[in-house]
Symmetry: C2
Subunit: 332 residues, 2 copies
Amino acid sequence: MNKKGNTIFFENAPRITSFAAVCGSKESEGIIGSYADIALSDDMYGESTYEKAECKMLSTAISLAVKKSGYKENEVDVLFSGDLLNQIISASFAARDYNFPFLGVYSACSTMSESMLLAAALVNAGYINSAVAATGSHFASAERQYRYPLELGCTRPPQAQWTVTGAGANLISSGGRGVKIVNGTMGRVCDFGVTDVNNMGAAMAPAAADTLIRHFKDTETSPEDYDLILTGDLGALGSRILKDLTWEKGFDVSEKHVDCGEIIYKVIESEFQGGSGAGCSATVLNSYVLTKMSAGLYGRVLFAATGALLSTVSSGQGESIPCISHAVQLEN
Amino acid sequence: MNKKGNTIFFENAPRITSFAAVCGSKESEGIIGSYADIALSDDMYGESTYEKAECKMLSTAISLAVKKSGYKENEVDVLFSGDLLNQIISASFAARDYNFPFLGVYSACSTMSESMLLAAALVNAGYINSAVAATGSHFASAERQYRYPLELGCTRPPQAQWTVTGAGANLISSGGRGVKIVNGTMGRVCDFGVTDVNNMGAAMAPAAADTLIRHFKDTETSPEDYDLILTGDLGALGSRILKDLTWEKGFDVSEKHVDCGEIIYKVIESEFQGGSGAGCSATVLNSYVLTKMSAGLYGRVLFAATGALLSTVSSGQGESIPCISHAVQLEN
């Protein structure tokens, strides 16, 4: 039995053979700008709608990851992908460009880690040789779907975050070189009763804390054992809450914790609490972090993307925001 | 390597230990009425909104499947689920009721077979002992999300189908009795350019044909080797197209093929081409079909649910409808 608690152990250590990221113009000014494969100067990416631009970013990231891996497209066994748009159309329409199978997943902004966990599980078990895990988001399509069309010019409250325009993908395979995925912790749905759709950080922090603590217990590790504990898109406020929640349970992550949403933008002004969206952790992981890991600067990274499982309908009907966080442990 | 083509073989043959279905009032008049665990007399199910009713059906089906399995709730390792509502809120909110991990999946009306495929893969690999696969849909929530609110009283064209009100779940485990899952064929996205959102059967038939044919080739079987080839919700028109498409490729499925959408309603009047929705194949499989299989009336069933991966946004932007079909082979 290669599972303990909610953590699955990958004894054959599938490898992240290649990774790729495409980011928007605003994102390119920050930490990932010089690490992303493509930094857009125009967030429309030559398309006529935001949704088509989002899909094109995702498809480009997938293509680049496949190309960089040395695998041919017809050698890829399956694509795991999903995104924030209704019915995950970015992923589905991106998958249309490829001849390999597609398994659609959804855990909001935790989709990157869920995809990687499932891809690694199938590769490790020997079912498949290679799988692509990918996701992305676009500020403008997310705003008009979840909140208001940009054209309305609505003001944003100070606890809000800014949906990242970008997409990331990696190809996970059974051998060769590259960062290893040694285990994955499956997230549980946590709902602490937050109903403010502008305060995702506060809603998601308990889910991140739940997964991190269970991960530490399942793997018998502590925060000190990691070079980096990377959460998805809690933002500045959510990160502070996470540190408090884990500290209360006896795990001090403050020295090792970094949140992708907190670091992605160069100057945080109108973004308030920082970045969010499925593309946030996907681009940071698949550019800056994996580059640094490949160079040996980080040895062991715990990647716990975080997702808020709400919709405009659930919020409109007065529901609170259930959240989730799936984690994968990466080692070089 | 326990994979050939796009088919993964489960040599340890995970079992469907238990199954459960909840169906709406209209559905209870048909073939599944006497097999479903709960047949609702009121499709609101005591809730204030259609979406909450859909979520409650799904949660009830999950609970029933767990209860009938003999497993305790804290022994269940993970839930695979998704649904048609934006951001799969039925599944996410149903998962909130449980303490076990949740891996959200989405392939529209093919979600049942995708969930079962992934659950069986993780169980077969020895990662986990048990997983629940579940999905559902609700006529009223689907109509108002995808088409028009019922209150508008819009007429429906003759090629339309009727979204099933119902939910189905099964618990897949590593041992014991029950129907075996012997392999699973991962679907590819197929898009034949259909743009009529009222004609899902025509859009999905090519995806079903693609998966069935690849399944036959990967497993070196032919339609005669099956007691039943069960597609998800092609409806009457889609089923005819499927038979033509497979026949053209040298596989005559006409003797063995049954479509859940075609058989679910007692009299087809306003439903035109029959049932559709994620709950269509989920309820038929998890009531009538698995009961008959458990009784030894069917020995080998190929279950290929079918999904249309569109959204109102993609259709509004003039896109055609990409479709997919994942299949699992069941044996008693």
